[in-house]
Symmetry: C2
Subunit: 333 residues, 2 copies
């Protein structure tokens, strides 16, 4: 295992220290219990938004804490849900009196621990709503999930719900916007190589030299099928119909097209994938009006990518475009 | 070779098409000759700034074209300098009547081809100045370089010179700012794994399972020494003194600390490196007042990182903070 780390069991805490030092203008990091919180939290009168989950998907979620997006992120151990305690602490830390929204990726551990934290917070007098993100069309039920997995679409839920909270929407309205994004977003990925969880020291699965996993999960969970390596265009031709036909997205729709790298794939390859995905959408009469390309929901050093399509309307577009000031997404301010 | 590509010889052109589609709000892409240019170029009365070099380092340089940074980027084949023709065409495309600055990383091919393009442009009546970036302290003379190599510090030269041009500095002043940044910035890297140039199909060098290259170049060129893998902190402890003692940076200095990923290294590892580098600078009484962490000058899927330190004064800080609107760096607008 070749990694730029010290003791494998300190990876998450040391990275959190690095985040605290690198982004002290935007966030504060509580080391115990561990959570990353907006420097000016709680923002009085604003709905607080908390997300979190296993580490190893950076910049998700810590890189999205700041003005216009998350109020706090709770990182668990690598690929492992955080426990209820830090989630509860983060929920308190961002409560500005207007309630708190939990944005939770649909994995059994995350759902359970966020639910427990929400119940504890409610018992202590806070108002909490939860939205479960499940944008992955690859498989129904998976290694760690009942139902669809939450993957790269989570970034868009967090961005758009964050903007709604920032403009002053109340808790029900912010939750409704988050639900709406989740209803309109679909993702599917492909994995070329596995990744190594530091405390495990070896890959959790293997792929032959010429094998790829279509529909892979962000922890390397199995997808739909293993096939032999194909040209990028052929891979996109496989993935995109599943994404588009699910909602379905149809001619005349306006969408955001998001090509997400899984950590170990060069940007040059993501743009080749983007090109083909944009061509296919154009052929179907679907207009790409917003775009995002890069490593936003990674799986450590895994090579591969996912394609996400979100149907936009005027309101979602305006909220997506709204100013954001985080470590990993910044614009307009 | 597992890559999300089609025909290896089309990688650069297909990626350029992807960039054109993904960032049509910011750039236009000329496919033949190949260059990426600011959508509103030429900007009348503003100094135009052109950079470029071999592909495979994305987002450098194409991701830095836009308001407040580059006016054009000229991508060559992977790890190979562009020829004078597209550089000349890009130079014409960004000439708004105030002259054009070429920012060139110090590799023999780049220096020669930019020089030829500059001479041709001058013969055609344009005014061109060139600044050579050579921030890498690892080695003097290298596989492709006479003198020091230009590496991640190039991003900071481009950002700060771009801001100077945007505020209306004339060509001599913009060139002087770029030279000043180059004089105040130092970088050194470490490589954990090689990368595969698509048209070669196999790694250009190999490292044993427990071996790393201290001082590696961004094309995988040899650095100072090959050692056995060490903890991240020990690696940072090796790199940082070379960077700091070169200028030297001393107690009381204010600096920008930039940890750059080489493409295949997870962000979580870059933050662990950042943490140790920040600690060491603090121990020396050097104040980190600006930070940058991420993949900005990559080497395809290579695992590794580089550490860059730039000494700031009030003017450089103000120019670094100035608004920028590119695919890969955006803030303040």
């Amino acid at each position: 295992m070749k990694k730029l780390i010290n003791d494998p069991k300190n990876v998450v805490l040391e990275a959190a220290s690095g985040i605290a030092l690198a982004h002290s203008d935007i966030v504060t990091v509580s080391m115990d219990p561990l959570f990353i919180v907006r420097k000016d939290a709680p923002v009085r009168g604003k709905v607080g938004i908390v997300s979190g989950g296993g580490s190893g998907h950076e910049p998700l979620h810590g890189g999205f804490v700041g003005f216009g997006m998350l109020d706090a992120a709770v990182p668990g151990p690598v690929f492992t849900s955080p426990t209820p305690d830090p989630i509860l602490a983060a929920t308190h830390a961002v409560d500005g009196g207007a309630g708190v929204l939990h944005i939770v990726k649909n994995y059994t551990g995350d759902v359970l621990n966020f639910e427990t934290a929400a119940e504890l917070a409610e018992a202590e007098g806070l108002t909490v709503r939860s939205v479960i993100v499940n944008d992955d069309v690859a498989v129904k039920d998976s290694l760690y999930t009942a139902g669809r997995r939450g993957v790269a679409g989570t970034v868009l839920v967090e961005k758009i719900a964050g903007a709604a909270a920032e403009r002053g929407d109340d808790l029900d309205a912010v939750a409704a916007i988050a639900e709406r994004v989740n209803a309109e977003v679909r993702t599917m990925g492909v994995g070329l190589t596995p990744c190594i969880v530091p405390h495990a020291g070896e890959p959790s699965f293997t792929l032959d030299e010429d094998e790829i996993e279509i529909g892979i999960g962000i922890h390397g969970e199995p997808g739909r099928e293993r096939i032999r390596l194909e040209p990028a265009d052929a891979i996109v031709d496989r993935l995109l119909p599943h994404i588009v036909d699910d909602v379905p997205f149809v001619s005349g729709d306006r969408v955001l097209l998001f090509v997400n790298g899984m950590g170990g794939t060069p940007l040059v390859e993501l743009y080749i994938v983007f090109r083909r995905a944009a061509e296919l959408l154009a052929e179907r009469g679907i207009e790409v009006s917003r775009t995002l390309v890069g490593n936003f929901v990674s799986s450590l050093e895994m090579q591969g990518c996912s394609i996400t399509v979100l149907r936009l309307d005027d309101e979602l577009t305006e909220l997506y475009d709204a100013p954001v000031q985080t470590a990993a997404l910044r614009w307009g301010r």
